[in-house]
Amino acid sequence: MTAIVAILVDGYRELNSRKLFWITLVLSAVIPLLFFAIDLTETGVRLFHWEIDAPVNATIIAREDFFKNLFVDWGVGIWLTWIATILALVTTAGIIPDLVTGGAVDMVLSKPVRRSTVFLAKYASGLVFATMQVAAFTAVAFVVLGIKIGAWMPGLFLAVPIVVLFFSYLYAICAFLGLITRSTIAALMLTILCWVGLWIMNTTDSILLMVKEQQVAELDSFERSLDRARELEVRIREEIDERGENESRTARLDALLGRIAEREADTERKRGSVERLESFNSLMVTAKTPLPKTAETILVLKRTLTDATLTPPPATEDAADESGAPDASDPFAVNGPGSEETGARLEDALGERSVAWVIGTSLLFEAFLLGLCLWVFGRRDF
């Protein structure tokens, strides 16, 4: 225990000696102060003293939800998961390469401490930095938002474990690469490369999922239009039965049957397309399962913080138009899903991926990588 505490304290001293550590920490504490400069108005948002008309305004979203979203989308989504994470990686990437440098590693390994303990304590000291950074950001945001909107939201502190978890996936990659290459620069660059790879994979997954959800929505719309057309067909046939055939009725029926046949063919094509996209999505999920799920981990935070707390926006005429309500005069009229509907469907689809899958499989990846590190560190001659 004495040794573990010593390594953690040493880790803090190491970070403390780097200017970037303090710059990042101060920035993390200062950025949330910007919440003071932002407010929601009846027509949009106010930034410092500038009024900006925006679709997001006090009439469609509660103030508390607006700031909660702002915290998650901008504070966590942009600052903590991109900018602060890059700064944190730059700050901590050298911890493992410095540990395994000749002359330094001898000093540590010649002490009565297990190699696994040394490595894990050093790894933990990197995570301590990320924890301090997120905790500073969240604590200041908590106070600022509490003062500003009068609502104290302890749920914001959920950002601390989730963002640290997110950082730990990347830091495990960085630690492994640092151990193998013994180079801070190589570890940092390759980690960022891996991160970009994961981002591309996640983005591809999201795009495929979004396209699939669009296609599913269109398929639903096609099927509804077919139902309406068949109802119309029944009505025309009843009319013929009641009033007898004439040229006009027969022509209407023939035209309708022709369009139904066309729509049925379109629907079949659409169904095939949806099935293919579902296969792609399944493949993507299979490919992602053993990898860390960075974006989805942050989405867990967003879901947890915003689920069931957002005031549902009142339905407006524009919104109704966009939501796909068909033209009553034409049974074949199909309105594709609006962007909001697609977005909601995408979030629902992502929401179907359980927290256990997102975090559990990511942690398994991290555990595997750390196990590999311990194996390499434990067996290597220095």
Binding site: R13, G103, M107, K111, F382
Partner: protein, 338 residues
């Protein structure tokens, strides 16, 4: 390898160290046999080292660059895993982590974190060695004083000279009050005053009953403090023993005379060599003074002026060079035979 008992001494009045010895008489501090280290299939760094170091002695390990000295030390310190090794260090099997609680180690080319102060560095490595905080607080001021670093202890290592780093390195090696101290090139980069201080420290440690194992290129330094030495060449121990034992066959008398060498020098088994200021040195093999009396009588009978008569023997450097040369000669012979 058989080793006579070293001239170990203990100082009962010495603070703290003396009471912690687990006995200096019985089992050796280091007793390893057949230590081999092979990298890949071809590179044999150590080819079966047998080494025994008695408790309470200063042991010097010599060897040219690449001989395997540091590899052997690192195996004992668990930094490197031996391909094969038997024996014990402080009574425990080679490679046992628990042994390191009673061992202090200063590696060659060590790198301590530059952001730590001297005091913090000793404290950090003390904590890694398992020394509790209260003990460290009590012990560190004395250690810093012992290595002459009290004044600079609050400064960061990044601003230290090489000699100062060596002193702090030695202090951290002693912070757990070890039974065995292993120092790899401890005087590397240290000025003459610092080297003398380190020599004195090693002698004080021995007087307290601590076993000191030193790797060094500075043979003169080792000669002044080591009870026993071993010479390692290309992964093999070429010779080992006390310096007295290893140089016994080279004992001789040197007679410094005026004028040219006498023409009968070879007839009495002496060799002659010119010396400064027109003098000649006659080297007469043998450890006994009686052996040179006839030579002196003959010189006196010829009215030759005798400037000096002194006993002499091979020094450690000459011994070392000879051992390396013999090894190279053996290799050349083996190659020719093949």
């Amino acid at each position: 390898m058989v080793s006579p008992a070293p001239p170990a001494s203990t100082d009962e009045s010495a603070p703290s160290f003396a009471g912690s010895r687990s006995g200096t008489g019985g089992d050796p501090a280091i007793d390893v046999r057949g230590v081999r280290k092979t990298y890949g299939r071809k590179v044999k760094a150590l080819k079966g080292i047998d080494l025994r170091v008695e408790r309470g002695s200063i042991f010097g390990l010599l060897g040219p660059n690449g001989a395997g000295k540091s590899t052997l030390v690192k195996i004992m310190m668990t930094v490197i895993r031996a391909s094969e090794a038997e024996g014990t260090v402080l009574g425990r099997p080679v490679g046992a982590k628990e042994t390191l609680r009673r061992v202090g180690y200063l590696p060659e080319h060590h790198r301590m974190p530059k952001y730590l102060t001297g005091r913090q560095a000793v404290d950090f490595y003390g904590a890694l060695a398992g020394v509790d905080a209260a003990t460290r607080r009590a012990r560190i001021p004395g250690l810093l004083d012992e290595v002459g670093m009290t004044q600079a202890a609050g400064r960061r290592l990044g601003g230290y000279s090489k000699g100062m780093l060596q002193r702090i390195g030695i202090a951290q090696a002693l912070v757990n009050e070890p039974d065995l101290v292993v120092l790899d090139e401890p005087t590397d980069g240290v000025d003459p005053i610092g080297r003398r201080d380190i020599r004195d420290l090693l002698l004080r440690l021995r007087d307290r009953g601590v076993t000191v194992f030193v790797n060094s290129h500075l043979l003169g330094e080792l000669e002044m403090v080591c009870d026993r030495v071993a010479i390692l060449v290309q992964g093999e121990v070429r010779s080992s023993g006390t310096i007295e034992e290893l140089t016994a066959h080279s004992r001789r008398y040197e007679i410094e005379i005026g004028g040219p060498p006498p023409d009968w020098a070879a007839a009495v088994g002496a060799t002659a060599a010119p010396a400064a200021a027109g003098l000649t040195v006659l080297r007469v093999p043998g450890a006994e003074a009686a052996a040179i009396q006839p030579v002196i009588d003959r010189l006196r009978s010829q009215h030759r002026v005798i400037h000096a008569v002194r006993p002499a023997r091979e020094n450690l450097e000459e011994l070392f060079v000879r051992a390396v040369a013999e090894h190279e000669g053996d290799l050349a012979t083996a190659e020719t035979t093949r």
